[in-house]
Symmetry: C2
Subunit: 295 residues, 2 copies
């Protein structure tokens, strides 16, 4: 069974369809998420222990951001073939700095011998009004925070041996302040963890709606254009390479102005009634390929 089919089976059985599970608790909602990362697919050669720590924390913190939540704390399970003091200290510093950057606390973890370096972070947060994936409505604006292409550029820099710049880009900021600001306004939200295209399809499926996206409106990381002038190449990096960890969300048109006052983002299209995802590119309207980043 492929990972996607297996995930669908799990989702059906667990009735999970959001970036976090939601636990109503007293007058609030706890949001709760876990992510597994490992050497072979998540950390290219050249990734520092600090970056591994940062990224391990950031993926779960990003999921909490995507629910409009404030992270409270993080646990990390670490499996490694050996435990080298310097490595552990750097890793901890990355974990802690990333948590601190969004006012979360690294609370503890577990340690295990493992053939392959494997890290699992679990984040707990609180959301006044958790934003689901399922709320997009026809006519609403489709928006994205930051700029696209971050991980795509980093991967190419790792390959090219530009390790320092690659590590910097790999330490992405979890969009917690933006998520909190948007929590009041957004009708649906997700973090881009498998590429813009895949995330659009996930929002579309959960909401029972579709999207029309304008390629020329996409905020693209400067380094994408520095790396390659070939449009096809750029499109691949921006639409399908994924792991940008920016927030993708929909907003009722009436909320646009207030939302724009609360944080920075770009409007990239609008919600359609039909359940498909269209991309406007060079005046052509074509179906966007549902192809994402395969870890």
């Amino acid at each position: 069974m492929r990972e996607l089919e297996a995930l669908k089976l799990l989702y059906r059985r667990l009735s999970v369809g959001d970036d976090c599970a939601i636990i109503p608790f007293e007058n609030a909602n706890l949001v709760f998420t876990t992510d597994m990362l490992h050497q072979a697919t998540d950390f290219p050669r050249g990734t520092t222990a600090y970056t591994i720590g940062w990224r391990t924390a950031a993926v779960s913190l990003s999921d909490i951001a995507a629910m409009g939540g404030q992270p409270l704390g993080l646990l990390v399970a670490l499996g490694a073939p050996e435990f080298e003091r310097h490595f552990l200290e750097e890793l901890l510093e990355g974990l802690e700095n990333c948590c601190t950057s969004v006012k979360a606390k690294l609370l503890g973890g577990d340690l295990d011998h493992h053939q392959e370096l494997t890290l699992v972070s679990t984040g707990l947060g609180i959301a006044a009004r958790p934003v689901p994936r399922s709320g997009a409505k026809p006519g609403e604006a489709v928006c994205v925070t930051g700029a696209l292409g971050r991980t795509a550029v980093a991967l190419r820099l790792f390959e090219a041996g530009q390790i320092e710049r690659a590590n910097e880009l790999f330490c992405f900021p979890p969009r917690v302040p933006e998520g909190l600001a948007l929590g009041e306004h957004a009708s649906s939200m997700i973090d881009i963890s498998d590429g813009l295209a895949r995330s659009l399809y996930q929002l579309a499926e959960a909401s029972g709606a579709g999207f029309e996206i304008e390629y020329d409106k996409l905020p693209i990381l400067l380094q994408v254009e520095e790396l390659t002038q070939r449009r096809k190449d750029q499109q691949e990096m921006v639409l399908h390479t994924g792991e940008d960890f920016e927030l993708l969300f929909t907003l009722p048109q009436g909320r646009l102005k207030d939302a724009q006052k609360s944080c920075e983002f770009t409007v990239i299209g609008h919600v359609l009634k039909e359940r498909n995802v269209q991309l406007r590119l060079n005046e052509d309207l074509q179906e966007l390929e549902d192809r994402g980043y395969q870890h």
Copy 2:
């Protein structure tokens, strides 16, 4: 660096010294714990997918029990070389049944391709008054729930090909009702995850105290004596093989009667002022070896 030293480094840096991290939240305390299990060291040949699921949930639920907490929900990250539908369904059933047995909910998870079967469960619970490892005081009673030797017996049955009985024993009940009942009374508590001896030393270190334990008072699983009549062999299974997941705790003498009304347990010794662990065996008092179950 050995796992123990690395854990100490992590503990110092993270100020963690309990079965769960504690997050004060409104008028309650959230308790939060994560555990990594994997094929090579945690699941002997013959372990069914159901048992793998049960045990994955149970280790985290047991940590919450050891804080005197009620589990709310569980997340599970699963790394596997392939995702086979029957395996996943059995695994989910084990996870869900274990959660349901203690009124917890399986809330979701993450899925990843991985060379080695690897599972990480993270439990979230709530405790009115979290019981630490650090509260044991001289003169108090040392107690344990259930009977010792469960995992030791199961491991031998797996080796002997008695797979069905081994799987049954491997699906241990997380002592949540006992933990909740004892939460009101116990001064310190831990779950036995690395053998009675190791857990005693962990309590002793956290509390700055010691213990005198009487071997003849230890509650021993019937099957231990069925398996072997050799005393040395039995002692190894009961004291050092570990992973019994029973609760080990201390009680002020004045609380003993009330605690005994609230749940079943056995008094096995008393707390000493001196920081060591003594075992009374055949009228000899000897230092108990600080040797645990190495995963």
